[in-house]
Symmetry: D2
Amino acid sequence: MQRFALIGAGFIGTVHAANLTANPNVDFKLVYDLDTKRAATIAASFGAAVAHSVGEVFDDGAIDAVFIASSTDTHAEHVRRAADAGVAALCEKPIHLDLAQATETVAYAKERNTLAMVDFNRRFDRDYAELKRIVDSGEIGDVELIQLSSRGPSMPPLEYIAVSGGQMRDQAVHFFDLARWISGADPVEVFATGSTLAEPRLADYGDVDTSAVTLRLASGALVQIDCTRRTGYGYDERIEVLGSRGMAEARRHRNGNVSRYTAGKVTDDGLHPGWFERVKPTYAAALAAFVNALENGTPISPSLEDGLKAQAIAEAATRSLTSGRAEPILY
Amino acid sequence: MQRFALIGAGFIGTVHAANLTANPNVDFKLVYDLDTKRAATIAASFGAAVAHSVGEVFDDGAIDAVFIASSTDTHAEHVRRAADAGVAALCEKPIHLDLAQATETVAYAKERNTLAMVDFNRRFDRDYAELKRIVDSGEIGDVELIQLSSRGPSMPPLEYIAVSGGQMRDQAVHFFDLARWISGADPVEVFATGSTLAEPRLADYGDVDTSAVTLRLASGALVQIDCTRRTGYGYDERIEVLGSRGMAEARRHRNGNVSRYTAGKVTDDGLHPGWFERVKPTYAAALAAFVNALENGTPISPSLEDGLKAQAIAEAATRSLTSGRAEPILY
Amino acid sequence: MQRFALIGAGFIGTVHAANLTANPNVDFKLVYDLDTKRAATIAASFGAAVAHSVGEVFDDGAIDAVFIASSTDTHAEHVRRAADAGVAALCEKPIHLDLAQATETVAYAKERNTLAMVDFNRRFDRDYAELKRIVDSGEIGDVELIQLSSRGPSMPPLEYIAVSGGQMRDQAVHFFDLARWISGADPVEVFATGSTLAEPRLADYGDVDTSAVTLRLASGALVQIDCTRRTGYGYDERIEVLGSRGMAEARRHRNGNVSRYTAGKVTDDGLHPGWFERVKPTYAAALAAFVNALENGTPISPSLEDGLKAQAIAEAATRSLTSGRAEPILY
Amino acid sequence: MQRFALIGAGFIGTVHAANLTANPNVDFKLVYDLDTKRAATIAASFGAAVAHSVGEVFDDGAIDAVFIASSTDTHAEHVRRAADAGVAALCEKPIHLDLAQATETVAYAKERNTLAMVDFNRRFDRDYAELKRIVDSGEIGDVELIQLSSRGPSMPPLEYIAVSGGQMRDQAVHFFDLARWISGADPVEVFATGSTLAEPRLADYGDVDTSAVTLRLASGALVQIDCTRRTGYGYDERIEVLGSRGMAEARRHRNGNVSRYTAGKVTDDGLHPGWFERVKPTYAAALAAFVNALENGTPISPSLEDGLKAQAIAEAATRSLTSGRAEPILY
């Protein structure tokens, strides 16, 4: 049984709190948030106690592990506190929006042998895990081409965009990780081009809402990612992996299985309205994998280093957006 | 090269004329129709000559085979003429709406060793042939349950209904043949119930437009057929075959492969507007099989006897519609 | 907040216990099972207390509602106890395998104004609820034809079969309820025929494993149900509703969304291995509807009377299996 | 009625000959090929006469139009001869592999008011035409992102590769045309990167077999194309068009509609074995459009200028393959 604290009591913190409660190997002890009222709400619903300071979380030996789901600018600090306290950490991405600071934080944690995982939750999607299994089994031969679509349903608020780090660092980064994980290889080069089609004001932030990214692996295999912030038709992600002996596809998810037949048309249930409906089960699965690593010593995946590598790709992609050329990726 | 005459120059006669012309082993010589103008139109388009009497078709040794596509009440007479003349015959179903007369006609042709085939064209559908192949291969084990849907898009005119023989003899009969062919077994019993939901005036003809039929094979395997004359959403047929080791399904056909994604819905291209768009390729394939039998002595399928057996099921089903009980099928 | 007891601590009782715990408006107080050890296991996992007798469940005013998930032969007795105690009851189907005794039990509960619901959980399936909504909205016009498939993956043990009441009462009954519910009409007549194809020893129990059922509604609309106990390819249920202006289909569920492309074939994730994976979410939804009825006075559906009507259809269907004719349904 | 000559009697010439014969508004008069025996075979099968020289094709006023399906290096010469003779021309792509010479040829034909069309046959695919209709109707708003897959089943012979002009000019060019046509806009910039994964010897030809191309339209809309010469799983092409108000997709085509259900898997009919099975109907449709333009003065599409523009994109893409940067497209 692992004693957990949760830092961050917003929307996603509440999701994590429910998963911590439902996991049979977790004892959900403490919840901390700058906004004590929000922490108290979670504490009351899920039978945890409120921590009134970060110190209270880490300093009393009360917990084995911490789930860091606070605002992005606080992740690195909490990872360091966990490292200091000898507490394992499951941290939402990114460790720090600034790659150099993220790298230092990871080094800090590594020196202290901190058990830590970055929450790229899509690795725990049932279908993506099956894709990975197919690739690893050799069933489709060597990977030659991967297609990923990352498409959000509607523009996030500009306030969110302003602190997000931009489409590469905030949105595409999940798919950079998936491309690395599924192919089992580190991309060496990236080309990215983007536009502000959904929200022209993004240009003020040096950001884009629609982009096309191409990665090149050392083997010569290619990866294409298309990203949009606003589809208008729902949340849409899918992956195709072409190998030398076949292809595997993780198809779009639908929100139901009903078809309506009328003259000349068949109208099916469509896509999920938002990302959360699509990826919801992955959060519990990611937590379970982390807990399993703590309990049974299974390897941690994705590691903090995986988080850094995905960020490194995002940095190079961001450079390419303005340079107009393929950029080397510096890990 | 087989010299052919075509009897019947209506809509479907024109389809057959085009197929006769395109078949490399057919020399399309003659076309006959009571309406000489219609015959002349086909003759001009496809380079055949007009026959001005049935005698001209059969009596001069000008042809090797005849395609009988005239009105139903003339089929039996033309089959007998072909038998007398030693000419092979490809005949649209039914041989005769009256089963006794159909049976006599088949006996007559058999005594004269007439090469004859009844045009249950759905046996030549690519997907149904694949279903048959799967069943015959043993891939899904013994047949246990077959589901067939036979659904027309809109009510035929009442004048058509009046001479059609009713929904069992006119519409369901194709699926009785498919059930026999795919299962490789003769049903022993049939239950049918029907209603006049699309066109209440059908009741005046003792006919139904919506019906549910259950066949029982000697093995105990069961067959369900649903028939409607009017779907409102297009022409719809499909077949499922459940075996002891798996299931095979010939899915509905769509008229295209385009999907449109909008909020919460995906709208695909729908079904074909009518039966002809769905089954069109089967006519050329049926003709090719018949010509192959003539040229190379391959077995004829479906034979005239197959036609009689499907009719026998239709007769029993028609009895069941009013008796309210499962009726034995008398071959 | 509704205080609940659970009677029955087997596999499905454990499912209900988890749902009772997760429902925010339920206080899961007591669990009873003849096998006290099983009750204790559930009690420990979900924070309830063990009741050591049925009296302890009902007699102390400790609960507002009872979930009856014990063996079939005890349902009626527990419903009566609930009625005596003024406790609401959510009861697994059937109320009693003997329709006369079930009818008496329902009358008994009704006289005492017991709030009671029979757990035909498929009414709470997201897709079937959407079908119902489509039909009720008039979108596809008047119902004319309904197709339901009810197909289990593998033969249940003969000991189960022996006490199940047979395929009509045990398996088809769920689909009799769905047909009534979706069409909004009571069938008036039923024809059923069946065979023992998967397990010949079923004949010793007067039972069948493969059956085809046809219902007729007063409007003339028809319903076809195919049932098998053993598909070999997984758990398979689906529904099509044809109306006068279109068709709606609740398609088969797949256990994933991955496709593998190889030469000439596309291999998708298949069906669920068993019924539980397919219908699991319906149990929580059914419970939530019941709790909502208790809390807010919303109408109870399916009512005990709905349970009786589905049973009445099953009785007539069972008669038809041997009579070979369409049987009137006596409600 | 348009009198046609066909130049080129190879595999695709035979396809065109059959379509010329079947088109009711075409009188197929002459066929020419350097290999007179091949020409004679077509002439015999389709009732045309053999032309023994190019002069015989063009000089006697015997034809209204010519279908140029000879080897690539002769296209431009035949277009000029047609222009000289006042004969309309339907020409396989490309006009000339060298863009400068192609441009001169088009100018030459234009000065002589030659009615000419380049046979980008995919514009006549039923599904792609429907995509174009959807975009033009405004149904999905402004185009923002287009995804195209162009995937051949197996490596063509190296002799073919050697004279093909490379993957951009030979394969991707069809999709450059589709991107222009569907979006209604000329791309301004292209990035391409490629590898030799299927056939390392391609490197000797400066060619690639696997590539990822990104186009940028003046509006900022983006286009991604993935190309492979060898999938191993059949011929695969598909298009998605994301607009500001929805998405439209022309899905992969399957070679049949049969599904096989076994434990945990559903195996469907797969993709076509080769490009010809997939695009076969487009050739007759392209011819019909050309004939319609001749007969009724409807606009010609794709024009020779369309052919040049697609080539211009291919040139820039070929440059980008080695420059590693986005290249401007010079029309």
